[in-house]
Each structure stands twice: as structure tokens, then as C-alpha cells.
Subunit: 449 residues, 2 copies
């Protein structure tokens, strides 16, 4: 027997609608149990019981599994995994995506942090790894990992996002991928390491030095130019991720962390920093990680990841399979410029908006989880979220981004994402029709080398 109730029962008139198409007060479930009771059995299918005990399941009749030195997820969660998208033209090059649509909260577990490799993940013996700091410094020096661990550490919870994240958004047709396999080249961890400014002070940085050339110890020999200003502001030589030492795919034993700046600058397996007067103009700051504009000119050194948000549930591939009723809209917002100030949600395609509840603490340059309850009436609906950061920057609609940047930039796509909910509850990704015209935008592979 189920306790399925009518919408009227679930929502007495006294529950305030804050925007069109059934968007409800974000604090509904933080308020009195009176309000809560009025929403009885929103989880249709929860069924009534007598006073009986539940049946004793099989696993209560046998001793459980023993202790493990290092734990793993349940075997019933195997589909919660990163999705690899290897480059078609270049072996060992590509990315793997974090399943954001399967996760909750703000922390990304280390096993699911997104990956971006240019030639695979090196297996580095930390005892044989050194960081060379040289160039325009008074005391060019080698630092072992053991040396670096003696320096004062600091910790910061922040996101790292690939400049190419969400690039299918440039394509003429809406991506059919799940939210994380479209926007999941971004993850959020607690990073701990040595402030880069400390090591630069140790070696005596020359005032003439304006850039640092960072070299990775991978088989691609990744290198790129970092402005000294950022190095002195908040850059970190990261050694720990979510409490434990870095994972191999995230730069073990040492990576550069530049909070809020595009992922390619956060050089993994860091082996050298050379202080120089001018950028090196490496492949990944000229031919790649730059954006061709309609004018024919290209944007270069576009370091900061702009504010962005994404509804992770409900999202593409999901089904509101319990019919009309109350659902929770949950998603992530972040900004490379600082804190997320507000996230607006619309369930009527952008006609009306309401601010979502933000998970606290709201941290700068970190994921911010937002949530708002929605009373779905069973009609087709368009869901959107819009991030606003503390600088006042507002996440743009897709058409606005395309008007400014054209269609061939590939990188730094941060437009508002729209999910379409059909009458049957199925959720798909959609563009506003006026931007869904065919064009000649290339495949997403063109940027991955």
C-alpha cells in the first residue's frame, strides 16, 4: 500500500511560489515541521508499515567483510566513474570527466577528480624527484620533496577546471552526454602545500623576473608560462589533496596550483620553475588554450575561469520517474574571481528566476552547492541556473557568449545550461532555438593536443 497523495494534499495554498512553473521558497525545508508535514510523502512510493519489524536481510545472517588498509566504494557504485575521452589523433592524450551528475556536496573524492594528460600519467618515485628553481634568481636551487615538506604548509579548498571544459557547448547540436561528461573537467579538493612565494623568497627572485616557466616531468614535457604576480599572490606547490598525498593523475608528488586559473597552468609532476622576463610562447599558450575571435584575432593568456553554474540534478539522462510532485533542484556554481554571491534558478526557460539556497561555507574559488525545491506539475519545462559572483559578473546566456566570442574559440565555454523536462519526466539538454542553427564548428577533438 502506498501513501501517494494529490498535489493539493502535498501543497496547501499557503506554500509560497517564488517564481513561475512551481519554483518554491528555497528555505521551505529549513523551516518549521508544519511546512514539512504539509509536504507529506513527497517521496511517493515510501509505503506505510504496521508496527512490524522489517524482514531480516540475508547480510545480517553472516559475518561481514574484514578491515581493509585502504577502502574502496561499494561494488554497487561501479557506474560512478570517470569517463575517458582520448584524443583520436594522439595516443596517450586526452581527458577523463568527473561524473558530477552522480555526486553531491562540494568535495570531489580523489578517485573521481578529472584527468587531463598530454602523454599519460608518469609513475614517479618521490625520492628521485626534485624541483629546480632557476633563471633570474639569486640562489638557483634544487628542492627535494622531503625538503619541501619541511616548509610551512597552507591549505585551501578550491576547484581546478580545464580551459576546455564544456567545449561541446560550442557545437551546433546540444550534447547528449550526462552533465558530468559534458561539464566534468572541473573538480574541487582541499589542497595543501607550500606557498610558491615562500620558495621564491628562499631563492631570491630577481626584480626583472616577470614570468615563471613551469616544466612537468611527464613524457610530454609539458611547459607553460606563469605571471610572477599570480605566483606571489596565491600560488601553491601542492603536496596533499583531500588530506592525503596527491594522486598520480593529479601530479604526484608535486604540482603547481593556481586557484581560479585554467587547469593547464596548474602544471602537474612539477620539476622546474625558471624565472624569466618574457613568456616562452609554448604550444599550449599559443596554438592551444587561446580563443579565435570573430575579428580573426585570438585571445591569449586567458587565465581566469569565469563564473559558471550547472544543475546536476535533474539533468540530462535522468527521468522524474515518480510523476508530478516535489523535486529538489541541485547543482554546482564556481568562479575563478572569488566567491559565488548568488545562483538564480529558472524552471520556465528563463522567464522568471529565484535565488537558490547556497551550501555554507561559501568559499572563494571553490565549488558552491546550490539547492531549491520545485513542484513539477507534469508539463514540459525548461530548467536553467545562472551564477553571479562577488565581482558582479553574471554567467551569460549561450547566445550572448556566442555573440561575443563566435563559435571557434573552443576554450572557456561558461554559458547557462538548459535542461528540458518532457511530459514523461525525461530530461535532455537543449539550446534556445535561435542559437540551434547549423554551423561549421569542428569536432571537440581539435583542441585536445
Amino acid at each position: 500500500m502506498t501513501n501517494k497523495k494529490t498535489l493539493a494534499q502535498i501543497f496547501p495554498d499557503d506554500i509560497r511560489h517564488v517564481a513561475g512553473n512551481g519554483l518554491l521558497d528555497r528555505r521551505l525545508f529549513l523551516k518549521s515541521s508544519l511546512a514539512l508535514s504539509s509536504a507529506s510523502f513527497i517521496a511517493d512510493g515510501a509505503h506505510a508499515a504496521g508496527t512490524e519489524q522489517p524482514a531480516r536481510p540475508a547480510w545480517m545472517n553472516v559475518p561481514g567483510e574484514p578491515f581493509t588498509p585502504y577502502g574502496r566504494p561499494s561494488g554497487f557504485e561501479d557506474e560512478v566513474a570517470r569517463f575517458p575521452s582520448p584524443n583520436r589523433q594522439l595516443r596517450n592524450n586526452g581527458a577523463s570527466w568527473t561524473p558530477l551528475h552522480k555526486l553531491e556536496g562540494m568535495i570531489t573524492p580523489n578517485g573521481l577528480h578529472y584527468e587531463r594528460h598530454h602523454n599519460g600519467v608518469p609513475r614517479i618515485n618521490p625520492d628521485e624527484h626534485e624541483l629546480l628553481v632557476h633563471g633570474l634568481v639569486e640562489r638557483p636551487s634544487f628542492f627535494s620533496i622531503e625538503n619541501l615538506l619541511r616548509y610551512p604548509l597552507r591549505s585551501q579548498i578550491c576547484f581546478v577546471e580545464c580551459g576546455g571544459n564544456s567545449n561541446p557547448g560550442w557545437n551546433k547540436s546540444p550534447s547528449r552526454a550526462e552533465a558530468g561528461y559534458f561539464h566534468g573537467l572541473v573538480s574541487c579538493s582541499e589542497w595543501t602545500g607550500v606557498p610558491l612565494s615562500t620558495v621564491l623568497a628562499e631563492t631570491g627572485l630577481d626584480k626583472k623576473a616577470k614570468w615563471l616557466i613551469a616544466d612537468g616531468a611527464d613524457a610530454f614535457a609539458m611547459n607553460i608560462s606563469i605571471p610572477v604576480e599570480k605566483a606571489m599572490e596565491d600560488a601553491m606547490l601542492a603536496l596533499y589533496q583531500n588530506g592525503e598525498r596527491l594522486r598520480p593523475e593529479n601530479g604526484y608528488p608535486l604540482r603547481l596550483l593556481l586557484p581560479g586559473w585554467e587547469g593547464v597552468l596548474n602544471v602537474k609532476w612539477l620539476r622546474a620553475l625558471k624565472a624569466v622576463e618574457k613568456p616562452i610562447m609554448a604550444r599550449n599558450e599559443t596554438a592551444r588554450y587561446t580563443e579565435l575571435l570573430p575579428s580573426g584575432k585570438a585571445r591569449m593568456f586567458t587565465f581566469t575561469m569565469e563564473a559558471k553554474s550547472l544543475i546536476t540534478s535533474p539533468s540530462a539522462g535522468m527521468v522524474l520517474n515518480q510523476g508530478p510532485g516535489l523535486y529538489q533542484v541541485s547543482g554546482l556554481a564556481w568562479s575563478g574571481r572569488g566567491r559565488v554571491k548568488q545562483v538564480d534558478v529558472s524552471v520556465d526557460g528563463g522567464k522568471s528566476w529565484a535565488p537558490a539556497e547556497l551550501q555554507t561555507p561559501v568559499l572563494e574559488k571553490a565549488f558552491t552547492r546550490f539547492r531549491i525545491p520545485w513542484q513539477w506539475n507534469g508539463a514540459p519545462s525548461m530548467l536553467k541556473s545562472r551564477a553571479i559572483d562577488e565581482t558582479g559578473y553574471v554567467q551569460p546566456e549561450r547566445q550572448q557568449l556566442i555573440n561575443e566570442r563566435g563559435r571557434h574559440g573552443f576554450f572557456h565555454y561558461n554559458a547557462i545550461v538548459t535542461w528540458h523536462v518532457d511530459e514523461d519526466g525525461s530530461v535532455t539538454h537543449t539550446y534556445d532555438t535561435d542559437t540551434a542553427q547549423p554551423d561549421n564548428n569542428g569536432s571537440i577533438d581539435t583542441g585536445w593536443d
Copy 2:
């Protein structure tokens, strides 16, 4: 060639000492690069380089490892593991300890969260698991995991600590275990789930209900009594841990979370909550998880974990192997009553103290990382840390705790921990001599069943 310098060179007189035996201003490394430069090459052994490039390591000459759906730590980190201490008398019963001495920051990675099992870890199929809420409620109901996932979620970063954590501290001789294998029955995660108050409102809790009897779906059939006040205040039906679904050893697919209260109450593999007028007086709230006092009476229902702190580095088993010079003192503090307000550190056995720097954000009922630099002069030293929480509670010295509680309580040991640093730099656990007298305290196994 090394750049090893004399203490005088490392520390010009202008660097302020804030307490005896070389404790330095906690903000030393947050200040100007001038101060930083004056501490040049604190990491003795970092060696000078010419302008040469570093030698190209072997792993740069071969393509790296491919993408992985779910990542693992580096093989070079295998010793960063939980330490199992099974009960000698009862198979499948015991605990495994988080290696706090190998970790940094405030988040515990899921693979290293401490474990406490009464009969092993059940392998539960989430599709076959239900939560029964019954007893003094208007609508006794079963909730599937799918049902619960439809409810509004909230997230909180908080610690979970076993009431038996640190129990070797009651022993007559100081434990020789590493810090985590002595104090590591505590871990800190971001937990996400449904507020218990929401589900109690759904089922219509009777005003006569004062306690909830929680049942676990493990082979021990763990059960215990929870006050309704706590359930309504901040208890959570936890479904996610650090972004992903709970790990099996932490209650997959559903556990009770009572922020700041002893671990045994945070029932794992939760299958039933029965609302009643009186506690059930289960084994784990009468014969166990109670503390025998000198008066012969026992403390019962000692729910809240009091403020505690621990220096994790340097700590037992470590060696300050680079001789006299600058070291970082780093540790963890937490309180079940709210936020940690201050952590004082002493390196002269408690004669003088100075406040450590607290990692931000400082969250209530969560790990708070503290750090302070120390100029070790090479003489034997006694290191202590002392937590003070926002209620004004001050972590007690061991003798004070023993005067109040005797020696046979086994649970809720939260005394100040003292590390002894010898001339050779080796670190060991020590008691103040006046509390190191022989007694008849039993083995730590007596509490583990």
C-alpha cells in the same frame, strides 16, 4: 654543495619569539618576503644549482599510464594505511585507525576514514535496503534509498569520533604507537543527506516520543538509543561522504550522523528508527560506552565528544633528522560542542604557551588544522597542544582528567598529549612523571565488544 646555514643566519634577532624554547610568531610565514628571505634554506639539504637543467628522469622517456575510471594512491604511498586492531576475544569485532600522522589539512580521504565494526562490514544491495520509521509516529513507513534521495539534502563537514578513541591514554605506560594509531579513531568528512527532522515530520512524530531506537543492518544487529532533541536539532540520514555515496565501512547505503556525538550513536547500515518514551538500555549504552567513576558510579549517555587536540607532526616515531633549525608544528583540534576557538602550543613542557595559526574556515564540530613554526635548538624538548572551544572549555592535562574520572573509564579520553623530542631528534610519547605511576588499568581490549 649544500647551503646549510648557522642558526644565526637562519634567524636574525628581529624574528620574534612568542614563547619559550624557540616558538615563533605563527604568522612568520604569512608575512613579508623580507622575513621569508631571512629564513633562507631552512630546508637544509636543498642544494644550489648552476643554470643547468635538471637531469631528465626515466619516466619522461616512456608514455605514462592510461586513464582510470576510479583512481588509487601512488604505489609509493602504500604505508599510508589504516591500522587494524581486532578484538582478541571476538572475531569480526574491533576498529581500524586513521593514519592522522601521515595526513594534512582537515579532510580525511574516504579510503582512510577510521572503521569500527561489531561483526564486520555487510555488503548491502541498496535496492533491497529500506529504512523503517515506526513506534510513536502517526504514519509508520518504509523508505527506500531511492525515496530518500528525493528529499531535500543538506551537507556538513564534520568529524566522527569513536567514544573509545585515544583509550591507550588510560594505560599506565605511554603508548608507543604513532599518533594516528593512538588517536585515529576520528576522521572528518563532508557528509550529505536528509535532515532526520524532515523524515520524522513526514511520519508524524508523537509528542510522547522522547527517544529513537536505531537499528543497524549488520550481523551484530547494532542498536542504540538516540534522544529526540538531537534528532530534531542537527541529525542527518547520511547518503554521501566527500561527494560520493557512503563507503561500505561507513554505513553504505545509509547511516545516522549526529554531529559532535560519539561514533557508536552514528548507527551505520541504518534499517530502523523506533520512536519510544524511554531508552532501550542496550548493551552499548550500559555495559559499554559508559565510564566507571572513582565513586563506583558510572557515567552513562555521555554523548558529546569534548574538545581535543593533537600535534600530528612532529609526533611519535618521527625524527627531526636535519638537526637544529626551523620546523613546522602541525596538528588537529576539534570539539563536539562547536567551533575550536584557539589552540595553544607549548614546546617547553607546558611552562609557556603560544596560540597556533588556525586553518580557515574554522567549522563547528569539524577538524581544525593548526600550525606554528618552531626553531629547535637541538636540546631535549616537550611538545604539547591545548584546544579551547567556543564554549570556553579547555582541554585538560592528563592528571586533571584522571583526578576527575579515575583510570577505569576507558572511553572519552581527551587529555593533552605530550611528545618528547630527544637530542638526536627522535620523538616519543611521554606522560608527566607524576602521572606515570603503575596502576591496574586493563588492556585496551576490554572495551571492544
